[in-house]
């Protein structure tokens, strides 16, 4: 190698994003874990889990896509459904275990539903972060 050759930073992905992203979605924090960011992985997992569990403890209902109703209602239900599913394994575990709180009056279930969606949205942020680390856009 010539003495004045410039050493370029590696640009190849650390791992295949095609495998990493679905895994990071399904198990919150798994993307960071596979990339060697174990501390951040634990924080992501714990935060998404706590948010989901708080929502469930407040008896927040899960969203389901509906065919009837006006456009706005269907949009809200479908968006909430995507947000719920973004929690990955926690959502599927809740469905598998038959989680379905009774429809009761009060503000707590409303907050609970939002917490469950927020858990999914926080997980999406973590998935995007894992993708950027994987593709060397950030450390």
């Amino acid at each position: 190698m010539p003495a004045n050759a410039v050493t370029e930073a590696p640009t190849a992905p650390l791992k295949s994003p095609i495998l990493l992203i679905p895994l990071a979605w399904f198990v919150p924090g798994a993307g960071h874990f596979l990339l060697g960011r174990k501390g951040r992985a634990a924080i992501v997992f714990a935060t998404v889990l706590v948010t989901f569990l708080v929502g469930a403890a407040m008896r927040g209902p899960l969203f389901h896509p509906v065919d009837n109703g006006d456009v706005l209602s269907r949009l809200i239900q479908f968006g909430g459904y995507l947000g719920d599913m973004a929690s990955g394994i926690f959502y599927f575990a809740a469905v598998f275990l038959g989680y379905g709180p009774l429809d009761v009056a009060g503000y707590a279930p409303d907050y609970g539903a939002k917490f469950i969606v927020a858990a999914g949205l926080l997980n999406i942020l973590a998935v995007v972060d894992a993708y950027e680390i994987c593709t060397r856009q950030k450390d």
């Binding site: 951040r40 407040m58 907050y111 917490f115 927020a118 926080l122 942020l125 995007v128 972060d129």
Partner: protein
Amino acid sequence: MKLDHFETTILFALVSSVILGLVTKKTDEERLRYGLYCFGCFMAALFGIGWAMRLLHG
């Protein structure tokens, strides 16, 4: 679990700030600072909007 509005909002601010701090900055110190900054912004909005609603509502 029955949390009041204030406790629920504090909890939401906390979990959101943790993730926002975690995914945004490069070093651990910057992450901590940004997480605290986000939490402070949530609190400012909480008290600001809370007082605004109280004063406007009468």
